[in-house]
Symmetry: D3
Subunit: 218 residues, 6 copies
């Protein structure tokens, strides 16, 4: 029950890790496990393709292996859950992926969920994984923000597109929405306001599932 | 973020509530929400039929209404999730059901899950709910302990049957098992040992999901 | 084979029961079972939420219990099928729900069915039940009339919205449509004309399934 | 509302038609439609293969066309529903198939249904159709009687195998059973007794669905 | 391994067979099986209804039977796969249907597939078959060209509508498209260009699956 | 249309590549593409875990990149389809995986398919992928040979276990079987004989799908 929950951002962009770290603040409980957020130096600046997903598995597993003795649990903080099943074979400590945890949490918030992807090109990859989870009948739809990377740094523009996409998903019949990315917790409330349905920030969802597992020793 | 998580046992058997209370111990964190376990006085001694399930909804909602001002969240601690969707309409505080939370947690532990029911007659009701969750393709099977209520008090006998059922579910292809009942956390580890796959105690799963939701203010 | 088919309207609005009663006329056959339509006095004026659904189960089961000796079968005439599975445990006489019977009948009329809900807020509840029936792959869509209750009394306005929704469902790919409400048989033909696909009035569907079961003694 | 329900046995074995005719007796109501059972002279003695199924469509449609002016509805009394969708294009009168109607009726009697096939070789064909109905998640299993045709004439032997298969399906988790054949209504009760779950005779199920449709003019 | 692959066009329009024949050219390999395209003289000019589908089975099986001694494999070149399962019972040589082969091929080209139907009225029939294949969760949508038969002869008009439909399917989320017809290979590239996703010509897909089976002797 | 189909064995065991190479013989057609089988030197001796699967992606993509200019298509010859979706992003030439191609081919041979895994531990990984393909309703079951690696070299022992497993899958209801491994084509016919249903060797299935794609220039 001692040990640290390591939240690993598998892309190399420290600003993303910082956003994740801030999002963990309310989950750092006196008496609960320590939560530490890391950047995978070997990762690409952003994970955009299946190639990127597969490419970070090896360095990610290396990090998991190194941290293992001090770890209570691991969270893989990329919405494609890279290396999730590999990492589960590598360590007996709990390993949570933010896509899996985010979507499962959304299932407790509404009958059909929507997903906000950053890129159009990620949607087929996500749908393949949602089918793999057996959840096609719970999906209302997935839509992309579709901004070029440089424009994602513009908070006003990003907030505007995210709330637009959130509203569109609600119109598609989504009763809950999952943000399909890590490090964007600052937009959660605005999307929730705009869409009128609960919005799940998936890294937070994964971290609280990890805390529970650590406390119970499963 | 202040307030108490109320874990409501909708049957009137205090011994079950006591078991639930002990199971919450590792989830009571210094900096986290208070967790209080209650017995629904108006409930039947055990919830065995759809009639029982439907019958506890009204008193349960009454209790939810009364506790609402002091509540941070609610957990309904019966594996048929009585009144879950009604309660979600009654309060804007998080409401978690142990069936839903237990099964969703199992999905992070293995590709196919099995369920240990207490009674054979509960299986069709559970399957209806599992279908309603859209999870038929993740289910390996459900099997019943099938002991008469009086014999459930006999710990050795119950442990024996539970481990037998756990082993049978693993042979059916279950990679994770959910205990389909509340208040039986004491058997979790023995079933896990016997079956050789992770076993989810569903009340604990629901409580940790509630803690996360409370901390995040969702 | 003697005995009466009791069609129970679980809301307390007698005008709805009257509409149901008129819809039963063509199913009252010489030599067939008697059909009697009742209003559940304890019900709310309309069933709009899961809370309403759960709330009518107890008085409904009481009525079922009282009528049991004289009953040939029961029809629960509310599109959320309140207490359906409870009632089936309470009596060995056939119990049919209008949602289940209406949707199953629609499956004989087209590959994909649409549902006309009265209220937007009922759609997630219906989808949960349609998933529970395992029928997600047969659903073309569900859309709401969305009129406030007072305007539902205005027949012209209601007919106009119902036919609009019917047409929209046909455009969604519905090859058959189920009216997601009881007591609105008078609109059936107009929707069918407008949408150009068969339209099922679900109470009639449930009553004829009940007649068959009564005649056969199943 | 005038006119006759024609129940067409697409095999040429008159003894089967006679069994169907006897099974219709309780559904012949004073004020209801006339029910007439016919044998398709051009059919094979039994329908055992997809080839047989496809082969009877042309003569069946010819009979449907000839009877159309006098018909209120048609029932195709073979468990592979030969020509069902073709016949629905040929006439605007209701056309019910016994597989479709029998299975839909079973869905009102239990969460999971089982099917008793006569021949092992028919099972893949039936499963293809059950998938086509979108009902794979409601199926508990299908098992074959597996007696050679000559032995099916031996009532004791057939009853024995049917009850054995019914019991096996209940053990597979079937909460309701559909007899996967026409003209064997005489075994229904014995299978129900043996299996301990409701058993649907599919021709009767289709005929009562037809009566309802005729009375309502859909 | 000797013998001919017979590609049977079950409609009587020789121009369609000619289009199929041209499409087979790249699959006629020096060392591979001979490929011969035939017109079913008894077929209707086009297969537009389930009635048409069922109606060609008997003459088709007759042709299959006659060619059997010289055949290496059969391809049924109509997008409703008429007689596919019957033909598989009739001969032990491989029998491929263009709908089945075309859709399975599309599954290797994208997560979700779309279908271009010629007629609106064929869509429910195709969906019934796609459900029967268990593939509802992979389908993005099906849309019809919807031109009257005489206008299909106008290549410019047909190309225009086909590319419009292809674009619409891509917007529906299709990552690959199947042409829901035989004999229109000449439009494949234009649709692919317009839609920006791979497009499968289903007869070619079926023929190459047949070649493989012939070479391997399965 | 010129160029070579590269069949890459992602494990480093040359004997497996040799078996694959022999299995390609009947698919090397005069006039067809050249087929060359390669061993991935960096791969582990066998691919047994998700870790192994993820680990070979990087070297595999490197090989794909190097061969790209000379390649007509690629086949990834490991039943977990490592790097399949990554490789499809890396090259515009066709990339086929043997799991995907083998299972899709089995769907043309029977309503339900079974899979023969080498190791018990691979079954959850395969099921995750089969769910991802949307094919859970077509799966009859998967069973493992379960021999330790050293015993797999003993042909008699392996043949014995494979035929046993094949028979068990047929009893589970499989109408077609896929061999869940590469390089074991020599056992195909024996399993087919024993099980009495068609057996797919998945590398051969993928290679013939690749040939078709190459010839057509898709």
């Amino acid at each position: 029950m001692s040990g640290t929950i390591y939240v690993i951002n598998p892309n190399s962009t420290v600003a993303v890790t910082d956003g994740i770290d801030r999002a963990c603040a309310p989950l750092r409980l006196a008496g609960g496990p320590k939560i530490e957020c890391l950047t995978l130096a070997e990762g690409p600046p952003g994970i955009q393709t299946q190639h990127d997903v597969d490419g970070v598995v090896a360095p990610l597993l290396r990090v998991v292996g190194e941290l293992e003795p001090k770890a209570a649990a691991f969270v893989i903080a990329c919405f494609s859950d890279p290396g999730l099943h590999s990492a589960r074979e590598t360590t007996r400590k709990p390993v949570l992926g933010i896509m899996e945890s985010g979507i499962l949490t959304a299932l407790t918030l509404g009958q059909r969920f929507g997903v906000i992807a950053i890129l159009q090109g990620s949607i087929p990859r996500h749908l393949r994984m949602i089918n793999g989870m057996g959840l096609a009948s719970r999906l209302a739809g997935e839509r992309a923000v579709g901004l070029p990377v440089v424009e994602l740094a513009d908070e006003a523009k990003t907030a505007h597109r995210m709330t637009e996409v959130g509203r569109a998903l609600a119109a598609d019949g989504a009763n809950a929405i999952v943000m399909g990315c890590a490090g964007m917790a600052q937009y959660r409330e605005r999307v929730e306001q705009a869409a009128g349905v609960p919005v799940v920030e998936p890294t937070q969802a994964a971290v609280f599932m990890a805390i529970g597992r650590v406390q119970l020793g499963w």
